[in-house]
């Protein structure tokens, strides 16, 4: 950390205390800059800390009173936590990829948002790990993952890759800060960015394999799942970077040429189209033989998951239209389109998770108990008639707490770390 501060003083922009002296070169945004590290940010940090603490308390309630307080049961054994886990792993992609691709390939980047983008990746990765932890029945036995690792388990792969990804994101951020201070060579930065990029692609593939390698769930078991996870991650990750960049520019944290946003929008549009294309390919391959795969398609397009399916398709399509139509690329619409894409990808995660449990392989009538499903007393038709899973308020509260943890990490990064772009930052940054 002492290295950080040295760099900060040398660069005059990299300011750990944030409230202290500001760079003269930032006079253009000086008026707004004064607010940085001020009341607004502190209040936001305070609010997210309070929500996070409330989430921890609710997690305590879940552990002591039992997970019977959640909407999960044997027939729908994962829920909002694992949905959000998938979602946040995806969100974490964008920042790192947006930041590392230009560096890795030596092409023009996206202005000064590189460091902020990686910070958003770190925050999302922390939230993703948090989601897995609150989902565990026995979090006190987490150490066993390292003592008794079954390296054949996709979940174990994910833990290894996600941990590496988090550490690597931090190293990458540190290297960028040091490079700004002239302490890390561009070659070194380029090498780190290539490694980070490979890890980012791996982290999404491995998360997909948690689901995609399970032959017992019709909806999950497809080779397309890993590339599709990467494309979805690129969609919501890029959208998040767009929203964050516009918000921070508006707040005066950084100045960013509109041309970079246009470039980002075109990229987002391309990612959205690829993601929808994958979805179309998958639906066609499932439905065409007319066998059990047709059930999956019917569940999405006409069954209990209809709202999520259409929100995703329409939201992503609208986002693509906004991104590809020059006249529509206003700040407000770009933010709206990005939020639609993020919402759409969240809906995709819901479809995927719930869809895995929605179709039972053995659907013979038999004895049902409250351990098998919350709607056990309404029979199989009651269980599978609607969505097989719906979260309880407790789950929503704990999830909100983990999200607040991610927000807190991001805001603390903004406040304490020197993430703002250098003024003389070349477009090739």
């Amino acid at each position: 950390m002492s290295d950080f501060s040295t760099g900060a003083i040398v660069d005059d922009d990299l300011d750990l205390s944030a409230a202290k002296g500001r760079s003269k070169s930032h006079e253009a945004v000086a008026a707004k800059t004064a607010a940085w590290g001020g009341k607004g940010l502190n209040a936001a940090i305070g609010v997210s800390a309070v929500i996070m603490v409330a989430g921890i308390v609710l997690w305590g309630v879940q552990l002591s009173g039992g997970m019977v307080q959640t909407g999960m049961r044997n027939l729908s054994s994962w829920g909002l936590y694992i949905t959000s886990f998938m979602f946040f792993v995806g969100l974490s992609a964008g920042g790192l990829i947006i930041s590392s691709v230009p560096k890795a390939f030596g092409i023009a980047g996206f202005g000064g948002i590189s460091k902020v983008a990686v910070m958003s990746s770190i925050a999302c990765t922390v939230a993703a790990i948090g989601m897995v932890v609150v989902d565990l029945g026995q979090p006190a036995r987490l150490w066993e993952l390292f003592a008794y690792s079954n390296l054949g388990s996709p979940l174990m792969w994910d833990i290894v890759v996600l941990g590496t990804y988090l550490i690597l994101s931090c190293v990458y951020l540190w290297a960028q800060v040091r490079a700004d201070a002239g302490k890390v060579s561009h070659t070194a930065l380029r090498v780190i960015s290539i490694v980070a990029l490979v890890t980012a692609v791996l982290v999404h593939s491995v998360t997909a394999w948690i689901f995609g390698l399970q032959q017992g769930r019709e909806m999950w078991h497809t080779a397309l799942l890993a590339p599709w996870f990467v494309s979805s991650a690129l969609v919501c990750g890029t959208a998040l970077v767009m929203v964050v960049a516009i918000a921070l520019r508006r707040a005066g944290y950084l100045s960013l040429d509109q041309a970079y946003l246009v470039k980002l929008a075109k990229l987002l549009g391309a990612f959205v189209v690829v993601d929808l294309y994958f979805f179309g390919c998958d639906l066609l391959t499932e439905a065409f033989p007319g066998g059990s795969g047709a059930e999956v398609v019917a569940m999405l397009t006409a069954g209990p998951l209809v709202p999520y399916f259409w929100t995703e398709v329409v939201g992503c399509a609208l986002c693509a239209v906004i991104c590809f139509t020059p006249a529509l690329r206003t700040n407000a619409l770009l933010v709206a389109g990005s939020l639609l894409a993020i919402l759409g990808i969240f809906c995709k995660r819901v479809q995927l998770l719930v869809g895995g449990f929605q179709i039972a392989n053995l659907d013979y009538a038999g004895p049902l108990t409250p351990m098998q499903h919350t709607a056990w007393d309404s029979g199989l038709s009651g269980i599978y008639g609607g969505m097989v899973y719906w979260p309880t308020p407790l789950e929503l509260g704990v999830t909100l707490g983990v999200v607040a943890l991610g927000v807190l990490v991001f805001l603390l990064g903004i406040k304490l770390l020197p993430l703002r772009p250098k003024d003389d930052e070349a477009p090739s940054e």
Partner: protein, 209 residues
Amino acid sequence: MSGSRYGFAIDTIRCVGCHTCSIACKIENNLPDDVIWNRVLTNGGASMDTASGTFPNLSKEYVTVACQHCENPACVKVCPVGATFKDPDTGAVRQDYDKCIGCRMCIAACPYTGVRSFNWDEPTHSIGFAVGDTDAPEHQKHTVEKCTMCWHRLARGEEPTCVEACLAKARHWGDLDDPNSEISKLIASREYKQLLPEEGTKPSVYYLV
């Protein structure tokens, strides 16, 4: 019994759907309230004990479903800590409650819907005290469990309790690898089906038809 593969043959023609195996299992293993490892399902109408079709062309069959103790178990591969594992001597798929971290990866992996059970609450017993075999492992909150093939009985050289309890003598248990065992002869001489053979899990439970 080293290196054997033990399994069940269940005679669906003899089975009367009385749930005795299910209850015997529940008592033997001291299963908590609302937990059933061995369920008697009706392959027929929409509700239990109903037939499908229209009179006089009706069909109804009882399928008792517990862990299939697969030769190629999906659950064992995905458990990150090896809490669910295949016993090398008997081929039984076992579960170590002390190790289980409660991630429920195995429930997601198992194609046999509802076979694996998670203790969503502190295990309780409606009669207020533990019943069953003293060797049956204690149940733990927030861990996954399922049929153990009565591992504690196997270790003493006994057969699983559901087989012993079956009133209709519909349940058979034995070494599938030994061609001279009673169960191997039954499977060789009778027509049988297995649950979800297309999943490639190679279940060790045969339903004689």
